[in-house]
Symmetry: C2
């Protein structure tokens, strides 16, 4: 195939500024695509550290990795910001079923994060399958009491933007144990928050309402969920849950890793770009969120490599404990508040290392318009969507408590919930060019805001 | 994460038509995403047929598969259109190197399609590494004569749209044997046309200039190419090529597979959508172009499932022999000409089963504008780029000889040249949602053109 690239209409700004910005966008892209180190950084994080739940030994190793990788960018300053984090331990776990035909089957299953297990002992009960909260609410207590409730709620594949499907389904992961315990259930099985045509179970955060018993919750993959659905329709199914997981009350010391390039004209104005260093305790935390970490580091490296001296101070932050506590994001905002720092913009990259499609904004419309005036510059890099209202979890304390304008990188979302919180979230499932293009978009955005003093 | 989806400004057309089209776009998307059969069709093609070079037994099996899959859509008519195709056979092949240090290494290598081998006998010669045609041209004949020339030209990773990089590099695959033979070389090794951070060699079409010796050509993957580069810089490297490949002069009978829904108002106006059924003789031809075949079939299935009675006749065509002869595309255009058919639009999908980003056009600007008037309808489905000038190979005879307006589906391009023409082009590397979204965009486009009689 041969292609002629379309010429975009000149955008409505001084032609010189446009040409200069366009040239710098190209330089940034070329630098990352040709010399970027983010892919290799991700390989080291995934293969030498692996998964790294907050409070674990691996998370400590990840902090060491992050500090080293940050220093290698040649940025002006690297430091560790103390954060106290909770620690949840999975331990051993298994889920088996006995069908009405007397067949016993072991299912791939994962306890949900922060949930309590069965104390390591087998716990058996009949399975009550429901399509969702509504069906459960319609049933009398005696049908629920003593049962293991199976929430067979499907991830909606009709939403093109998969985060919508996630937003729709995730309440079952988060709330179903307390909803079921309130009605007397002994345990909960959920269909994973998964777009996957596969059998990977997806872990992730859940939450107990202290008014009800803390019953165990396990997720199963789509194929197992289809089988369980079939068996439940055929007759009585008994499930046996056995798990050791436990959330420890005492917090443990850990760190956010921060690197900084000091602003050449306005060192007190800070732009933060960050992802989270912790991951769930499965897979390698490659897309979630090793990708965001190495992209944030790449922004600093690219600026140094190109000799860009940003007018504003640029900080890359690897947040700790996004997955099951958000302690890192809170600590960062608390520190900013106590030091009376002037944060002009915070950008999060925590939606996977896929090719970027857009940038989301949580800020005033007049602020969004300042960035959208430059939207045509981004088109050649595949970034066209500036319409979604989205920042990110780690920067939400900055946004909510300090009114800092927030933005989020929006990559292609089709594959994210195939990998998210599973054993399939490994380095091999990240494409080097897609990962790098995400870093390109971040560096371009930050360059623009700093160079034109947009905020 | 939670997301609020941005509301697009109303587009400049009658509000009612817009609302109706928008609703139909949604119906098409929901039907494909929830009930689409293209992913399962692709599984069967990849796993039960596998790779299927034109003229091979597997290609015959693929025709049977295609006819069956087409009939399952419930479309009005399915037929096979005879095409005579060439047959190239790979046979056994190997490539080994002896470094200046005396070490002998076997490399993963693939002969290029349509090339002649070494007659099955080992052929050894010293390796002359050059960066490209320019360097070769600068060397005296005596340095080239009797050598195996290694064209170490790198796929340019700085182009964001990878087809640009392919367009830049592919001349080395296509022309280097004759360029080197003209100067007395005995054989050619090329660095694959590959974006991959891996060692997969990529096959693909090459061409001999009849004025020069038909010397063998082999491709090696990026890791092997890096090693060969290193060894050549260190000292003298001897390569031994051994291959049996051969292009048979006599054509063999084969078929294009065609399915059709007859137009309800203008049955004589035809819209063609197609991909190619043949593949290279490695991997499973999943992205190239099983994806395009199953997407084209999905367009017919979706229209039938939704009860859409298109005003125009819609044809899905699985073309034979795109890879090494284009006989199917030519036969289709010849038939259209001889029957005096009225083709209003031809659309090709042959750039991989990745999430769609745009539609390319090879037609008059006034015709492009007719489609672009509806561009905002496509945005919710990730399709935003209507600026590239691109149709496709199989529809090029229709376009060039019969002036039929041509369009091409433009999916995300980042991963295509990791898989293209390799053993990695397998079903597992296609994502079900991305594949389906491509079919959605095709069905939406065809619906629009037919419903509004745009052409």
């Amino acid at each position: 195939m041969k292609f002629k690239i379309g010429v975009f209409a000149a955008i409505l700004m001084a032609p010189n500024a446009f040409a200069q910005d366009s040239a710098m966008f190209r330089k940034i892209s070329d630098e990352v695509m040709m010399h970027g180190t983010c892919y290799n950084n991700l390989r080291v994080l995934c293969k030498n550290v692996g998964h790294r739940l907050a409070g674990s030994k691996a998370a400590e190793k990840a902090v060491v990795w992050g500090e080293k990788a940050m220093k290698e960018t040649g940025c002006d300053k690297v430091w560790l910001q103390p954060v106290n984090v909770p620690y949840w331990k999975r331990g051993k776990e298994q889920l088996s079923l006995t069908t009405s035909g007397g067949k016993t089957i072991k299912l791939n299953a994962l306890s949900l994060g922060n949930s309590e297990g069965t104390g390591g002992k087998p716990m058996s009960a009949k399975v009550l399958m429901v399509s969702g909260f509504e069906e459960l609410a319609s049933l009398p207590d005696e049908q629920i009491k003593g049962k293991i409730v199976y929430f067979n709620y499907r991830f909606r594949q009709d939403f093109v933007f998969t985060f919508q499907g996630y937003g729709d389904a995730v309440k079952y992961r988060w709330a179903s144990p307390s909803v079921a315990a309130k009605r007397g259930a002994k345990g909960v099985i959920i269909r994973s928050m998964s777009t996957g045509e596969d059998d990977f179970p997806h872990t992730g955060s859940m939450h107990y309402n202290d008014s009800f018993a803390k019953i165990p919750e396990m997720a199963i993959g789509n194929y197992s969920a289809d089988s369980l659905e079939k068996w439940c329709k055929k007759g009585t199914v008994t499930a046996t849950m056995q798990s050791e997981c436990h959330l420890y009350e005492d917090l443990r010391p850990s760190y956010n890793v921060i690197g900084e390039i000091k602003g050449s004209q306005y060192p007190d104005r800070i732009i933060t770009v960050g992802g989270h260093l912790d991951s769930w305790d499965v897979g390698e935390g490659a897309h979630d969120d090793g990708a965001g970490c190495v992209q944030s580091i790449e922004v600093l490296r690219t600026m140094k490599a190109l000799g860009i001296r940003p007018k504003y101070t640029i900080r890359a932050v690897l947040f700790m404990n996004e997955e099951n506590g958000l302690k890192g994001g809170s600590a960062y905002a608390d520190s900013a508040k106590s030091k009376n720092e002037h944060h002009v913009l915070a950008i999060e990259t925590d939606a996977g290392g896929f090719a970027p499609r857009g940038i989301g904004f949580e800020m005033g419309e007049y602020q969004v318009e300042k960035i959208k005036a430059y939207r045509k510059l981004f088109l050649d890099y595949g970034v066209y969507d500036f319409e979604k209202d989205e920042g990110g979890a780690d920067i939400s304390p900055l946004h909510k408590n300090l009114n800092v304008p927030a933005a989020g990188l929006l990559p292609e979302s089709q594959r994210y919930f195939d990998y998210h919180h599973t054993n399939a979230d490994v380095f091999e499932n990240v494409n080097h060019r897609e990962l790098k293009l995400g870093a390109v978009a971040l560096a371009q955005l930050i360059y623009l805001v700093s160079e034109h003093e947009l905020f």
